[in-house]
Amino acid sequence: MRFMLSDEQSAIQDMAREVLAAESTFDRVRSAGEERQYDSELWALQRSMGWPGVGVPQRWGGQGLGLVELSVIAEECGYACSSTPLLGNILAATSLVSAASSEQCERYLPSLATGEVRGAVALTADSTPVPDAGEAGLIVVLEGSGGRVSLQPAQPVETIDPTLRYGRVVDPSAGEPLNQSPIAYDSTLVVVAAHQLGLAQRALDLSVAYTSVREQFGVPVATFQAVSHRLAQAHVDLTAARSLVYHAAWAVQVGDSEASASAARAKAWLAEASRTVTGSAIHAHGGIGFTWEANLHWLFKRATMLGPYLGGARQHRSRLLEMLGTAQTTSHETDHS
């Protein structure tokens, strides 16, 4: 058993972190947010690097990587809080890969993989604003373990997070039906949870850096336990988060019997932890944390918007309980012999 990223997966993470650190600075995020437009330069770069097609099989123009690698990319985009439609494309492509017929895959995946068409994923029974749906040309609407794919535009919605273009599905019954596939929903939950993990991790890292240099009473404020313990607790909560997200990514990828439960746990935990940790980071920065220029609010706002998206904490805990009841056992072995 090896519960950590492989060398190849770590290399993807390092590459994504490096690219986004240079090309998705908070200055860029802020100007995208203020103009209420995606960072088109960064989106062009992500397209040229093939990121929208990371999880799309090669025969449809993608790179054919798995959910763990997708989660790594999604986490890094959260870490940078980058303002591009990538999340929606990854979600739409991932759900189509598992729920679309091969004819539908042929029709829709190549253009999603290049980013030529922008995608988004919504839930039928949900009026939560859908990230990236505001300008999406293709929307996957999931319902139960089935769903539909539609080319009908969504109704744009202006939200507290102007760094992504949100929208609401106008007619959930539009478009053509997809096959039944629980994996489609599970995969999207993992990707969103990974993105939320990245948002929270960035907020914690910023807080560690700031409180280490910000002085009051003649010493760095991090030397006060009221401050350092808050950050230590955030780290503990994110340790749990990271374990849940990457276990779920692996479990869904290999079709482990715990896959759906694990995806539900990850989304439930991150729906709350991501908002809590980004909110806590605002506090740890003191007054400066409440300012527009401190940039923490971009992380906090997106974490807040993604919390209820595809089902919030309570919904996923309720789903999980049903699954635990069905399994009637809390055995959690990972045996694929």
Binding site: M1, R2, F3, M4, L5, S6, Q9, V68, V208, T211, S212, V219, P220, A222, T223, F224, Q225, S228, H229, L231, A232, Q233, H235, V236, T239, A240, A241, R242, S243, L244, Y246, H247, A249, W250, A251, V254, D256, S262, R265, A268, W269, R314, R317, S318, L320, L321, L324, G325, T330, S331, H332, E333, T334, D335, H336, S337
Partner: protein, 378 residues
Amino acid sequence: MDLTLSADELAFRDDFRAWIADHHPGSPPSNVEERYYWRLEWLRELNRGGFAAMHWPSEYGGRGATAMLNAVFFTELARAGAPIPANHIATFMAGPTIMQWGTQEQKERYLAPMLRADNVWCQGFSEPGAGSDLAAVATFAAREGDEFVVNGQKVWTSEAQYAHFCLLVTRTDRSVAQHKGLTYFILDMSSPGITRRPLRQLTGESEFNELFFDNVRIPASSVIGEVGNGWRVAMTTLMHERSMIGAGYGIRLRNYLTVVESHLRAHGLLDDPIVADRFTDLEIRTRALELSALRQISEAQARGSVGSEGSILKLMWSDTYSRLAEFAIETVGPDALEDASGWAWEYLRSRASTIEGGTSDILRNIVADRVLGLPRAR
């Protein structure tokens, strides 16, 4: 990323699973002392099967198991509803400490009897004036020829009522910096001048003891790792203590959670959406602890050393355990608070979880300092 068991791990799991099926110790006695001896007998039984100390090198009777294989061992114990064997202070703390710092003679004399449960060990670290601040140890060992004469007091000594030997940290030099004046001994608990007094804890039981030393003589040959080097030896012991936490504590929590879940289901209590929501949150926390333990084992193996991650697991454990115990008594109803109720016992016992083995406050200091790299207050 591959969470499947390797061929070796799988082969061991199947062997051990079959072995437990034939050697299961049954259900625990209710009396604290009987339960201890029952768990000690379980250690002997495991030793006969070659499972007493998976992580010890084979030359000392272990299997040289990786931390991951050790986790498989604990998972199988939990799956079978078998107890964690007694004498863990010997197998997880004294043994590895003596292997690292002990003389050849000490290794030959002490290690093998630990696994046969012929020697029970306790740990004499904490004192009334040295709790979280271990370097403040005041129990003094004065050199007299080939012996040291010990006077002072220890407290919170688990299992001292059963112990044959004690890992004893003393001050031998008051003239140097606090942590430089410490010396670590193996103390024979049958030595004259030792008084053991059980501490009655708030559950009414006595798991812990006070130890009083009145001119207790220890031969100089019982020093572990040189006079004045006690702080470093003690850190070895504590590192090994926390290395067992991930696997062991995840399992304790899972077992308790399963008991709570059975009760809730049997009484239809999960039909209440608030109860259901709280229970499921606790299930997620428990699974997160189990998974984090596995992840940290993988990372420690890749790095080749144990880090400060044990502190994170212990924080997760004590927090979730306390929440679960509170949830249980709130949910089970008035019967839960009757004196002989197992629910009440867990509830009361859980109050120790954020204190024992490093308080949550000290552990957050460790996470802030060594994991996050924040500037230190001191």
